[in-house]
Structure formats: C-alpha cells, structure tokens
C-alpha cells in the first residue's frame, strides 16, 4: 500500500514538471506568434520588442532573422544588420538571411568591397562547420595512417586518401582562421558615428562610419575601441556606437 502511494507521488511530480515545461514552451510559442502577428499588421516596433525579449531566454537563427527583419522594417539598419550577421553565424547557408542582409545593405547604400578569392573561400562555411570539417578530416587522416596494412586497401588508395585529408584539413584550418579573425567583429548601430585618432571625445575625427558598417575591433581603452573598418581605416570608435556580433 505504502509503495503504491509512493509510485503515485512520483507520477504526479513528473506530470507537474511535464506540465510546467509544456506551459513554458507554449508561452514561448505564443509570444513568437504574437510578434509575427505584429509584424504582419505593420507594427514593426512591437514585433522587434517581443522578438528581442525572447532572445534573453535563448537564440536561434530563425528568431534572430525575424528580429532583424523587424528592425529592418523599423528603419534601424544597424540593429538589422547586426542580427542578420548573428543569424548567419548559426545558419551560414540560409538563403533567406543572406538575401535579406544583402537587400538591406543595398537599400541603405552600404556597399561592401568586392571579396577576394580567399575571402570568398572563407565564407563558404561558418566557423563551426570549418571546425567540424577540420576535426573530421584530421581524425580520418589519423585513422588512415594507423590502419593496419591489408590486402583490401591498396597502398595508392591509402596515399590518395591521406593526401585528400591533409588538403581538406589545411583548407578547413584556413577557413577557421579566417572566420575566427572576424568572429568578434562589430556593427555600428548609431547614425553619424565618428572614428577618432585617439580614444577621447575631444580627439580629432578622421571620418564618419555609417550605421550598419562592419569593423574589426583591435583593442579597448576605457570607453573606446580601436578598430579597422571594411575600407582599412584605423581609429578609435566609442563603445556606445556599436555592438559586437558575438556578444550573446
């Protein structure tokens, strides 16, 4: 009798937990739908607010993409590009994300320098994909080397396999390096941001950097970050003028 009552208690507690998680998931889904509805009726500000609040609990490529769309429609170019870039980190091959990002850039006149062959190679995959490829080919390379000699595997087949692995692994490491070098890039999120020659507000400006522009941070001093932008300009930018893509 006592054992039965204990079993019932365990079941009830399990059901409570299940119910609790279902409620959480439902609430999250409802908010997602609520934001999508706001977007559909043209209330982009509300949509972006709800999508942004959801990112506190967790992020996904779709959530960031929807948030970016809402910002783009609200005219917040910097935040839109920032979130498209973040979404691309999670889903590098998503044509919706890359297409919308390209469209926003074109519409806002933020044209990027034509990519070199090396840059085009690096952006073929995301950082995680390059990492997995490098690790996988390295493991395959090691396996091929360590496999005992067998009549079933001809020597030249093994040599070709090893060569392909080395080639792929070095390519993947190059891709990793290229991707990681820009992993902490930032996006300007305010209009009329200025690049200065020293990390002080009173320092002379060497030019403006447009909202939505990408740059690579080099080092930080107080409230300023030394950056190099897409055109190769180097200077100091106020930390309040940008957000790091990786800052999640």
């Amino acid at each position: 009798m006592k054992r039965r009552s204990q079993m019932i208690k365990v079941w009830l507690i399990s059901l409570l937990f299940l119910f609790f998680f279902c409620q959480l998931a439902t609430a999250s889904e409802n908010r997602f739908k609520q934001a999508a509805t706001a977007y559909a009726i043209g209330d982009y500000s509300l949509a972006s607010q709800i999508f942004a609040s959801m990112t506190v609990e967790g992020i996904s490529a779709s959530l960031l993409y929807n948030l970016a769309n809402s910002y783009a429609k609200s005219g917040k170019t910097g935040l839109a590009i920032l979130n498209y870039e973040r979404a691309l980190r999670l889903a590098p091959g998503d044509s919706d994300i890359s297409g919308n990002l390209e469209l926003v850039r074109k519409e806002k006149g933020i044209f990027q320098e034509e990519r070199t062959l090396g840059q085009r190679f690096v952006v073929l995959l995301g950082l995680n994909q390059w990492t997995i490829l490098a690790t996988g080919t390295f493991m395959l390379f090691a396996t091929l080397l360590l496999l005992p000699s067998s009549r079933h595997i001809k020597k030249n087949v093994r040599s070709i396999g090893v060569s392909v692995c080395i080639f792929l692994c070095f390519g993947a490491i190059t891709g990793m390096y290229g991707r990681y070098a820009h992993f902490h890039d930032g996006v300007v999120v305010v209009s009329d941001a200025r690049i200065r020659i020293s990390p002080f507000e009173s320092a002379a400006s060497i030019g403006t950097i447009r909202e939505g522009r990408l740059f690579t941070p080099l080092k930080t001093h107080n409230d300023y970050v030394r950056i190099v932008d897409e055109t190769g300009r180097t200077g100091w930018l106020a930390a309040s003028a940008f957000t790091s893509i990786a800052s999640f």
């Binding site: 996904s60 490529a61 929807n66 769309n69 170019t77 390379f141 020293s198 030019g207």
Partner: protein, 623 residues
C-alpha cells in the same frame, strides 16, 4: 621508412594545429643608450641614460673603458601611452667621468633578461681639457649645432621657460592659426614631462599635439638650452579679444650643493648649476615638480561675415580644392553609382562636410562616408567622401554638378566650388557606354537662389522584397560561442590527440616486432619459458623423474633453439657440447635426460629440486 615518414607528418600536422591555435605573444626587448653631451671637459661629467623597453627585470653590463668611470645615479620606470599603444621602459642614469682628455667610445651595453637579450649602439664622445671647454662655452652664438635665441624679459633667471609663437594674432572664427610651442630647459637639467602643453585661456581650442616634439638646442644669452618644439594650430571659437598662454607640468632633477651656504635666490637660481666638480660629481639630486608657463598673448577672433554666406556653407574655413569622380558611368535603373569627392587643401577639415548634388531630382542619395588624410605638417590634407547615389528613373543623362562652399580668410570672402556634370548612361538609353571619368574642380560663384535639395534617406517602410518571417523559432541555443572556444570541444581535441599518440606508439612497436625476427624469437622465448617451467614443476611435484627430465630437455632445447636460430628438435647433446662450456649445468641436464631415455635412470627428489632450480635460473639468464 614510409611508416616513419607518415608519423613525422602526423606530428608535424599536430604541431601546425597547435601553432595555429596559439599565436605567439613574445615582446621584443630593445635598448638604447644616449649621452646628454658629445663633448665635455675633464673637470665635468656627462650623463649616460640607458633605456630598456620590453622587460623590467634585467641587469645591464657596462664594459670597463680605460680612462672612464661610471657612477649609477638612479633608476626610473616610465609608462607611456601614445596613440593607443602602451609602452613601459626602465631608464638607468649614470654619470660618466673621464680621467684624461681624448676621444672615448663606450662599447655596446649588453642587456640580458628572461624576455630576451639586447644591446645598445656604441657611443663615441670627446673629452676636452678645461680651457677648451671654456672656449666652447664662450663661442659666439650660432656656432656648432645650437642656434641663438634672443633672451626675453624675465627669462634670465629661469632654468626652464616656454614661448608660444602664433602664425597671426587676428583670425576668423573656426580658422586654424598655426602655433609653435617651444619649451626651453637649460642644458644639464634632466627634465621629465608630466603633461603635454595645455592651453590656458578662453576663446580658442588647441588642435591635438603630436606625441613627440622636435628636439633642438638653442643658445639664449650665452646659455645653452635644450628646446622641445610642438607645431600645432589654434582655432578661435568665440569672437572677441582673448588672452591666452600655454602651460606644461614637468619634473626637474636638480643637483643639490653639498655646502650649506646661503642660496642666493629661489631654487632655479644659477648658483644651483655652478660648475664645481664636487657639485657635479658628488652632489645629490633633488626632484622638483614645476609648471612651465608661457607669457600671455592677446589674440583676436573675428566673426564670419553674414554677407554673401552661401546656404550650403557648413563652417569650412581655409583654402580648398574639389575633385569629383563617379563609377560606374553605365548603370541600370536602381543600380548605385559611387561618387568619390575629394576636398583637398589647407584649413579646418573637421568642419568640412560632404559636397552636395546641386540638383537632386531623380536621384536617391545615401549618407556619405568620409576619411581624412593628412598631408605633411600644418593643416594641409584631403578629405575623401564616398557617397552612393541611385538613379530613380530612366532618361538621366548626367550626374548633376556637385558644390562645396567655404570661407577664404585671405580674400575674406566666401568661395563656391562647383564640379562639372558627369555624363552618365542609364540602361535602356541608346548611348555609348563611357568608362569612369574624373571631373576636376571648377571654381565659380553660384546663384544663391539655386538651393540644394535635401538628401532623402529612405526609411525602413520602403524596404520591399524582404523574405518573409520564419514561422518556427527552431532549435534554441544559449549563445553564439563557437565550439572551438568551448571547453568540452577543447577537451575532446586533447583526448583525441592523446589517443592518436598512443595508437601511433602501439603501431610503431607492432611494426618493429613484425620486421625483426630477433625480437620475435625473444617474444617467443618469453612466452614459452613460464609454460615449460610450470610443466617442470608439476612433474617434480608428481615425483615423475622421467617426465621431469623430458620437460627439462624440451625447455632447454626450445630456448637454445630460439637463441641459436635452430630448430629445437634438431639440437642434440653433441651440438650443445660444441657450443657450450663443458661444465654447463644445462648440458649436464640434457645429457642426463638422454641417458634416462635410453637407460631408464631415475632421479631423487633432491636432484630434481636442484635441476629445476638450475634450469629456471639459467634459462631466465638467457632472456
């Protein structure tokens, strides 16, 4: 051989992986040594400064030089922050005293530290006798490398003073006025600057000073001074007359006299810097923090005239030129054209805004980006603006003229620069394509009524063609951190590399065994010996004398066969007699076994025990 190459390749590969992941952060150690004077007399001393950057724990090694004595006078650490770069340096100060006149060379000073080694350049200098030095001091102004400067009122008793020399004393609001700032330190005084020169006074702002001043020497009233010169600019921001001056904080290292006689006047009096040998050499030093200030000068700022001020005027004052370039010049409707507009010349470039299209109808303009490129000293340079414009309709045949307005303080009038329209082909028009072209500036006065249309920035509502929202939120993640920076992945990589290393070692050993008959035989002996010894022991315990001797003979023949590379069954007592010593116990046991096989000889329990012990000991010693 191939396996060895493969393993080497694997190790190289792992090394490259590690190197890629862990960039080197080694700092470079540099050392410089300077002497404050190149010539001094035997009754005086020179100051040797040894500055080392890149390390803070080291001990300099100064080689002995015949006729020279070095006396360490102090050590200081300096932290610098110049244009975003921090650097720390340690400076050792020595007094150098010569025993005789002549030319001396201080050999390179070696710095040995954990961060690296470095050495300075050799320093050659001349030591004169007392008379020569006195003559040198009394040389006419302008002799040698030092220039002569007229002494001004109030500077005679000072060891440090400052002068400011503006390009002109009357300027327009916003106009940049060249300013030369000169700080004088009497020769022999060691001074550390605690600040850059600061502007004192209202109505003007000082442009940022270059970090490093120009160092020269000047003779002022027959005294030699080290002079630091900064070239900068002042910009008037408030109309009217203003009194301005400059100030600078410094720490002077002053020699103290040993005698307790009354000092004639303040701490900067000449008596402090008497030429006494003892004061120079044995005198102690005292640090004094001082504020060096320039005399006040009167400057006038005039307001810019309202008459003739163009609508497009944004505050640029100076002398400028305009150059406009567009690319491409054959586009489809909606395609962007990049305008590169270069404003070059001399003036307040921080107030120079992007030139504007004089007729923006039919064009959509985007916010321009800009970059300032300084051109040598002064306020010369060029500001390059890049702006995208998009043709909103077909039929456009040219990019409209682009205008830029500024105030010229020399002619005291406003100037308007206007570029020529640039021919353009919008797709669909039957005109030949043209390559990109450069249109040089044209200077002309424009009609004030031709106002420039404001640039229209499209808002987000105009964005059409965006792909629709995703309807599912998808798999949620907590952060954007890549797996390569996550602990579990790094641990996985370490385990993977270790596993591969272990596998490589195992495989290498297996391959060595497979390719070496000697090792194989050794392995077989190690494997068989315990089995045979166990059999021998069992027979001994069963008091089976015959079986015991058979097992002993089998064990001995197996081990010797593997050792001699012979078949065990083919080894006879005669073979063993040829190869082994006559008193060998193994030989005796084999012969006893053969005798037992033919004659049925029995062994006592004690004999079996002795034989078993002997067989075990001898065969184990063969392994």
């Amino acid at each position: 051989m191939k396996v060895r190459n493969s393993i080497q390749l694997l190790l190289l590969f792992v090394l490259v992986l590690v190197l890629v992941a862990a960039p080197s952060l080694q700092a470079e150690v540099t050392a410089t040594a300077t002497l404050n004077v190149q010539t001094f007399s035997v009754d005086r001393s020179a100051q040797l400064s040894l500055t080392v950057q890149g390390t803070r724990s080291f001990q300099p090694h100064i080689a002995e030089v015949d006729g020279l004595r070095f006396h360490q006078r102090g050590q200081s650490t300096r932290m610098e922050y110049i244009n975003g770069d921090f650097s720390a340096s340690v400076t050792f100060t020595y007094l150098v005293q010569a025993d005789r006149a002549g030319t001396f060379t201080i050999p390179p000073i070696e710095i040995v530290s954990k961060s690296g080694d470095a050495e300075t350049s050799a320093i050659t200098f001349t030591v004169t006798d007392i008379q020569q030095q006195s003559q040198f001091r009394n040389q006419s102004p302008g002799a040698g490398t030092a220039t002569t400067t007229r002494l001004r009122s109030g500077e005679a008793q000072e060891v440090a003073f400052m002068r400011i020399i503006p390009g002109k004393k009357t300027s327009y609001s916003g106009e940049l006025v060249p300013l030369q700032i000169k700080v004088y330190f009497r020769d022999g005084i060691q001074a550390n600057l605690n600040s850059l020169p600061q502007l004192a006074g209202e109505g003007f702002v000082l442009q940022q000073l270059a970090g490093e001043p120009i160092r020269t020497q000047e003779i002022v009233a027959n005294s030699r001074y080290s002079v630091l010169t900064w070239n900068s600019s002042l910009s008037g921001i408030k109309e009217g007359e203003h009194m301005i001056s400059m100030e600078l904080d410094a720490t002077l290292l002053l020699r103290q006299q040993r005698s307790r006689r009354q000092r004639p006047s303040g701490m900067f009096s000449d008596s402090f810097f008497g030429d006494s040998f003892f004061n120079d050499f044995f005198g102690s030093y005292q640090e004094k923090e001082v504020k060096v200030a320039s005399p006040k000068i009167k400057m006038m700022v005039k307001s810019l005239p309202e008459e003739g001020k163009p609508d497009a005027f944004n505050g640029a004052v100076g002398d400028f030129r305009l150059q406009v370039q567009a690319d491409p010049l054959a586009v489809a409707k909606g395609d962007p054209v990049t305008l590169t507009m270069t404003v070059s010349g001399q003036g307040n470039f921080d107030r120079v805004q992007a030139p504007e299209l004089m007729a923006a109808e039919g064009w959509k303009s985007y916010s321009p980006s800009s970059e300032f490129l300084k051109d040598g000293a002064g306020n010369r340079g060029k500001k390059v603006f890049e702006q995208a414009i998009v043709a909103k309709k077909n039929g456009l045949t040219e990019i409209p003229a682009i205008g830029f307005s500024y105030f010229d303080p020399h002619s005291e009038s406003y100037k308007n620069l206007l570029s020529a329209p640039i021919p353009l082909v919008v797709r669909g028009e039957n005109k030949p394509e043209v390559e990109s072209a450069t249109v040089l500036q044209q200077e002309a006065v424009i009609n004030q009524d031709e106002s420039v249309q404001s640039v229209q920035e499209p808002d987000g509502q105009g964005l059409s063609g965006l792909a629709p929202l995703h309807l599912e939120s998808g798999l949620m993640d907590k952060s954007l951190q890549p797996i390569v920076t996550q602990k579990w992945f790094q641990l996985f990589l370490v385990v993977l590399v270790l596993l591969i290393a272990v596998a490589v070692i195992i495989k290498k050993r297996a391959q060595r065994l497979a390719h070496s008959p000697r090792l194989q035989r050794q392995q077989a002996r190690k494997r068989l010996l315990p089995v045979r010894l166990k059999e021998i022991e069992e027979r001994r315990q069963a008091a089976d004398s015959c079986g015991f001797l058979v097992s002993c003979r089998l064990a001995i023949r197996e081990q010797l066969g593997l050792l001699w590379e012979m078949e065990a069954a083919a080894i006879t007592g005669a073979d063993m007699q040829q190869r082994m010593a006559p008193d060998s116990i193994l030989l005796a046991i084999v012969l006893a076994a053969e005798e037992s096989a033919y004659a049925g000889q029995e062994l006592s329990a004690q004999q079996m025990q002795e034989y078993a012990t002997a067989v075990k000991g001898e065969l184990e010693s063969l392994l």
